[in-house]
Symmetry: D2
Subunit: 357 residues, 4 copies
């Protein structure tokens, strides 16, 4: 069941890049939730291809249809199945992939693991599958609104260009530019870099930072169910992700305990911490401060250049990028990161209902 | 079931730092495996407290007893229960924790989540729980030997002091010094730094790098069951971990696709990649190259200095470190990282038995 | 995740009786299996409504579409999504159900549990959902053919009319009559009884017996994963089922151990038992003899008669059956029982791949 | 993970009949529950061997030790590990089993599945494992008391001797006699029959009926998570069980819908049903009426008579019962049935917390 994620609020996705459709079943969504279809579409639109000059030119409407689980506009507690048809497949672009393995793609490993693969557009390993997650994540977001939890992801780095710490940014500005960076001046540089890389027929990586605000204290389970471990699992399951860090992250390893510890104080209303190197999570459980984490995305593997590879017979061949691809994945990854974060938070909100007698 | 990890080769751990005992049930270990108890003890000894001047002075024998699942020296396919008694509890060292919340510990979050907590030594949130994982991981390692898979973890960074890339190290040297760094000269500097920090009554963080060699092609499942996502989940579930990256990791985000892609070639025996930015995993599935990843550990939260905090009544108080603690967690984290890696690999080896008809 | 069944070969179903569609995702089907679509359709046709005078007159084509997971006719190891559109909904037949609770239906319990329900045709609680299971079960059957496992279900009782023990029947005759009883003379009596009951605007219950042949020794897991417990769980999850017994079942409780025990002998090729009160399962694990079990179905709850009930406001009302319903569910339950049995066996075949080192 | 049961309130058991110990980890017990150790012991005493002339003469104290998860008398939300040492092993009684397969035991199937087995006392397949379930079930019962749910199991049949329907019995009388039948006159006949069978060196089967009262409306999940399917799974996982039926069960299949349907009425306080053929569950969800079900136990396989069998080499041999065994399992099965029922109900109570937004 590697295509299922979550314990109570859980999703199961299906679909290949160039198959008939992709989709998702959301099981465990509590009954009585208003399912705002316009909002789901809006989230899908944030992820869909062909949005701007710095994303792939594949055109997909990414319109969805709900097949079950919603009655008179509300969730009924039964599985919500949601399907997105694939329209703009140009499978013939991929005939060259049928016999050869593209470098740093999943062609080789799928071939060896299964002995068969749908090579068209990467098949199941395509990031197209994440549209299903975004749709499911939109439903999770609707549920989180009931608890006032807010999720903000944005592009914090492209190549070497990076933003300052999230506390110095206005996160409401993220959607004001095509690279989804809340700082306009930095966004411009990022866009210029991506465009430059695109013209070089190359690609580049980057970071997405995600901030979760107004989290109640007590979400997360000890030991193997730590909240940040679940968030990490969720993020590492997104295509092209190479790393995850939360709170002080990798840099925090260089600090002394006396610098890193978050002292508690009472702000009059509730217990807070003066600093937040913990990233809102202590011992795997939310402490009420902002949760924040970084997700590292490698440069997109498909480049419009010749590369050395081998074919199924083991002979060395040259492969060159075809099809329509993103020069940098992070702008479109923003809604995906938010969706996976929303799914984790929704699940842990429900799990926390069983913490006490 | 947040205390259970794994789908087929699975473990469930129990126990508090100062309770009667800690332990683990290994369910799903295939029958017929020789259970080398001396090896399990040896692994536990690598993790146990009191090994050297740079680790906590708590003395625990960490001797274990197998209660079930092994007959005439071999696994029988039934659950292997393994118990480690707690001996050297000095619970009175922790009476100050009963009423107050130590900064950057789990005291506050457990209290709020459960309304009750075993405060002695951190209770369930103590890293003492990881002894159970090391014992289970030793059994997983015994199983992996059948497939010749090898796991090498080591300390790659303490504070700002770091080793070169693993390919430039002799990983057989890791156990030759107390900090578990394979490069003697760097190890000395690390030890000096930890000792200095200890004398300052402070603590410091670091990195553990793990390398997995001779992995068969085809381990890992698509989408949510990606091999690196499972490894990340496993590592992020270890106490004090703040980040995980594999292959090129966070640094790789700065590269171009043309630099980052791993071109395939045929070495005569099998298909290989010229570089290994992928860290041995493509599309979530092992490709036969070395798997390698970094795990970031924050500085230990318990410092021997006064800190501001609040108590259960919400009043501000001063807490100061007592008990016996590690100035730096990474040397003892090495066998824990290996154990969790072994558990993941054992589980995915078994899952892979169902990939094809 | 109550809509998911199975550990490795697992299914997740969705859909309401009068919604847009029902369907299923099969996750964990091994790669390389030829997906015979004609066979899947044939299985769906065995279950579909409107087959004969003794079944409901609702007309559904029950044609399906595979959306993913199959490439060039074979399973690829990725999720197989299969959708069946609902065509012949006559939802207005159910407007009376919106406000009142039909006796012995799920109207009342869904209303109280969720606070909202899709009342049209019973919504999610309708047996229409089982079409998805039959489709998935057909895929499981295709997989079982590789191991030569054969599954035969048939109607063994309607009201008081019953067949002799399965060993006295020719199970290849089951499909030769509309009631699906392999003994022609008894089948005629059953059909006459069902027809009589139908004319009385009433319904009647019955038994389905299932026999699984050529099962390899060693399927089933100890303790909570016993093969018969999984089969029981599967059968009790079918609509209208009230009981499950395997081997000697309830009658066996009256025997002495000396009568009931199955003595072993060696038939020259392999170890067999002289009798088979164990029903092919000992200690939860298959022993190579025929597995057989009975599944008890209550009389269909919808009758074409006036009944006392209450409405959502708690006032007493009279409800009378409308819509199109089966006078007896067992003939159409035969393929459902086979499908669920096939899903259990497929899953345990894969689980057994991990029994030994 | 076949040794784990439950989704939120879950248990994992371990241990062989003649190993060092048996035990259980209860994971997911909500925090703040008073753990009444005397009550747990009392439940274990109801199951323990050597209670009377009609049970096995093996003497086990069955005293337990809690190793974790309880602090100052209350559950902390962390895993509760509970261990029962084995004392009165007479393993040499079983040396004859090492080489031969006892009829209708699990010797043969374990040997074939695993290639190795702990033959002493049946090893893992021994009903001794159920002591761990009874201990865990006692904790579940303590939790259920908070919701006022009450569970009553009793012996309703031994051989052909049976009680009337539960509604005609005084269930508070169950513990007044050694066979655990609430009707004294019938109990006497049952005891006489068991004693007679015992003197014949034979065994006999029987039924346990279980009644669950004061169940809130809304427990149980649709489709594969039906409450009765989970109860059936739980019961079929108990050693020697051959069948499960709830409500009208197998007999109900002979009724007409007009006889079987449970009409609703309003008793002034809440909606009730006039009859209860549904056994308190409709569409897999509790409706607030009594839940009741029967569990069929076969005659104990170990008889003190010579039987034909084969040994590991496939040669035919005679085996004769040794060791200490029950002539009839049902009196001691009563607390086991209650324990498993309590575990299911506790889990579904917690699952139901997530039904609504």
């Amino acid at each position: 069941m590697s295509n299922t994620f979550g314990k109570i609020f859980s999703i199961t996705t299906f679909g290949e890049s160039h198959g008939a459709a992709i989709g998702v079943i959301v099981d465990g969504c509590p009954a009585g939730l208003e399912i705002d279809e316009a909002f789901i579409q809006q989230e899908l639109d944030r992820r869909k291809p062909g949005q701007s000059k710095i994303t792939t030119q594949r055109k997909e409407d990414d319109t969805f249809k709900i097949l079950s689980g919603v009655f008179e506009g509300k969730s009924t507690g039964t599985p919500i199945a949601l399907v997105i048809e694939n329209n703009d497949q140009r499978s013939k672009d991929y005939s060259h992939v049928a016999e050869s393995f593209r470098p740093s793609h999943a062609d080789f490993t799928y071939e060896k693991k299964y002995g068969i693969r749908d090579y068209r557009g990467g098949g199941r390993s395509s990031a197209r599958e994440t549209a299903a997650r975004v749709a499911a994540g939109a439903i999770a977001k609707l549920f989180l609104r009931k608890s006032e939890i807010e999720i903000y992801a944005y592009v914090s780095q492209v190549g070497e260009i990076k933003t300052p710490h999230y506390t110095e940014l206005d996160l409401s500005k993220t959607e004001t530019n095509i690279v989804r960076c809340p700082e306009a001046a930095i966004a411009e540089k990022m866009i210029a870099l991506i465009d430059e890389v695109r013209l070089q027929r190359d690609t580049i990586g980057g970071l997405v930072t995600c901030v979760i605000k107004k989290v109640p204290v007590g979400l997360g389970e000890p030991v193997f169910g730590k909240l940040h471990a679940a968030l990490g699992h969720a993020m590492l399951g997104i295509n092209a992700v190479k790393g995850f860090e939360y709170g002080s992250g990798f840099e925090g390893t260089k600090l002394r305990g006396s610098q890193h510890n978050d002292e508690f104080y009472n702000d009059g209303e509730r217990i807070r911490t003066k600093t937040n190197h913990s990233g809102g999570i202590q011992g795997g459980i939310s402490n009420g401060e902002d949760i924040y984490f970084n997700v590292a995305f490698k440069p997109v593997a498909t480049i419009m250049q010749d590369q050395q590879s081998v074919n199924k017979e083991g002979n060395e061949v040259t492969v060159s990028g075809k099809g329509r691809h993103d020069p940098c994945v992070v702008p479109r990854a923003v809604p995906i990161v938010e969706a996976m974060a929303a799914l984790v938070m929704a699940d842990f909100l429900l799990l926390a209902r069983s913490s006490k007698v």
